[in-house]
Amino acid sequence: MRNTVLGMASLIVAAGVAATPAQADVGIGLVGGITGGTAALAPEMMKSYQFAVKQVNDQGGIKNGEKLIGVVADDGCNAQTGVDAVTKVVNVSQVVGMAGPWCSGVVLAVANSVTIPAGVVLITPAGTSPQITALKDNDLVFRTVPSDEYQGQVLARTLLARGTTKVALSFINNDYGKGLADAFQKEFVAKGGTVAARAAHEENRASYRTDLAQLAKGGADTLVLIDYGDSSGLTVLRESIENDFFKTYVGGEGMKTTATIKTIGSKNLANFYVSSPVSEKSQSLEVFASGFKSAGGDPNATFVSTSYDAVFLLALAIEQTGGDKTKISAALRNLVDAAGESIMPGEWAKAKALIAAGKPISYKGASGTLAFDANGDVPGAYALFKVNGDDFQFVTDMK
């Protein structure tokens, strides 16, 4: 018995040693909400992270063949869990930069208390809250996904254009929900719409019928629901449909999960629409999509292209700076400057040769051009989707 225990212990120690990157290898954090509200998005987004890491390593790695090591961590879509996980990634695994977290609240918490003080660049592929724009970040926080400031505005204009002038607004009480709801309401009211009732709700409650009854009193027949389709959003939507509180439902990209369709059934969701950021059609996107598909991923899943861009761009910056974390944020801006030679997703070997030769490059992201503004934000494109069968179907572009 004792021998077995000793044997097991040494195995665990050995495994631990093997998992620690060799001195020269470069670690980056791959952080995301594998559990919690974004769990449904996690498998494909994580796959996309790893796909980018694999491409880098398959085509020569960093500098002289050192490997890029992805340190995966789960933030639970929860600020507390996220800060713990990222503290470990930054201080123990000593990463030079990280992709993720995904949930806006976690991005804000992690950036303020861990990555900004540590001087580590953070690129979120999914944190969309307008509040991230306002972070005092020493140019260390970037995103490959557009801010909800834009999404709120285009969603408001699209609804008005479709003839919806009176809505009730219900949102999850966190940075994502409040950010998107505020942006929506501001534009909707400014362009002549009426928000008949507005209420936040706490996540993870057993029932929301009372909240819905209060909202329905406003007299609107459309509910704009900003939430996660894997969490309270699902409960709210189901209880509302069951009790006929509203006729039409409009969600943000957090509601665009198949869990919603699977649980409620597509026949009950005829009047359910979601807005979601979409990648602008480009050659880069096609290259990424076919590569990701052959690697076993689903290129149409939410946020996979932004996830890929976050990791690939970070790797390019590491290659260019030699892993010096103080220079990475400046490098990120140079790498997307339109002046350089174009680099498509997956063209790591080509980029590596250009960087070695000291030539400027311009990474054409799968999710778009990634023209970072002064706050590290990118412009975006959005589309409206509705349920068709087991999946979401494109309805219209949103301007």
Partner: protein, 290 residues
């Protein structure tokens, strides 16, 4: 607001929620009455029970209702195993140690659920259940089942405790474990029996929670606070107190939306807990023994 929408959208959800809390609170109360420690793994044991229902109904094609008894037994056995593995050797130490260790058990149980079933949101049945109209009252079939089953379980438990030999043994041990032991009551058997009942009640509360919302790995943890609030409000150790406490907490939580903003709804559980501890720390029913 007219009376019917008040009943439909505020009172009925409160009663359903309260019934679920009540089932959990009875379990908390039983553990405290017999073993004299708080049990933080309660919520996650409920999650485990809810997932066992899912497992048995999916693997055998039974309806979730039919799978509930099997899942209740499974959760009961799990509770006995947990007690045997983690709590038995702490029995003679100060109770706070067992209470804290139950927090560790909660995390382990949740991890087991996440390993086997993943972290995605699942449900017992797809599609939606529109409420039926009973003379102006909009009630869903599974809400009726929830309330009826909760009442049934409580009555059965009461009868068991008052009239059966083993029920009396449990009450004796709750009153004075040493004296009970001297009278020939095997304390270990009583403890095992208590865990069986607690596990089964957990499975039931998890199942009804899953039936009325969704099945996911954090579901039980999220109702832990209101469950404890219910048990303390009713008077820890008293079953009738747990029921009343559960209903009060559930109804207050839903009604609170009428007076405060809905994002603060979750606060009502805390407030009730605080008020109960401040004004009447012994709980409504002033009890320590079953």
């Amino acid at each position: 607001m007219d009376i019917s929408s008040f009943i439909n959208f505020f009172l009925i959800p409160g009663i359903i929620l309260g019934s679920i809390y009540a089932l959990g609170a009875i379990g908390v109360t039983l553990v405290y009455a017999i073993m004299r420690h708080g049990h933080f793994a309660h919520g996650d044991l409920a999650t485990f029970g809810a997932f066992m229902v899912l497992l048995f109904s999916a693997s055998s094609g039974l309806s979730p209702y039919a799978a509930l008894p099997i899942a209740a037994v499974a959760a009961g056995l799990m509770a006995i195993a947990i007690d045997w593995l983690f709590y038995t050797h702490l029995r003679t130490l100060p109770k706070i140690i067992t209470t804290i260790s139950s927090l560790g058990v909660a995390l382990m149980l949740r991890a087991v659920v996440q390993i086997f079933w993943g972290v995605n949101t699942l449900s017992y049945e797809t599609g939606i259940a529109r409420p039926e109209n009973w003379f102006g009252l909009r009630i869903k079939p599974h809400e009726v089942v929830t309330v009826v089953m909760v009442i049934g379980l409580v009555v059965a438990l009461e009868i068991f405790l008052r009239h059966s030999k083993w029920g009396k043994a449990m009450r004796a041990m709750s009153d004075n474990p040493d004296l009970a032991s001297l009278c020939g009551i095997d304390n270990r058997k009583v403890i095992a029996l208590t865990w069986m009942l607690v596990g089964a009640l957990c499975a039931a509360s998890g199942f009804f929670l899953g039936l009325n919302t969704q099945v996911k790995s954090l579901m039980g943890w999220n109702i832990l606070l209101p469950t404890f609030a219910a048990a303390i409000l009713g008077g820890v150790g008293r079953i009738e107190g747990a029921i009343l406490g559960g209903l009060i907490v559930g109804i207050c939580e839903e009604m609170s939306v009428l007076v405060i903003r809905s994002e603060y709804k979750v606060l009502s559980g805390f407030v009730i807990l605080l008020l109960a501890l401040l004004i009447r720390p012994t709980g409504l029913f002033r009890g320590k023994v079953l």
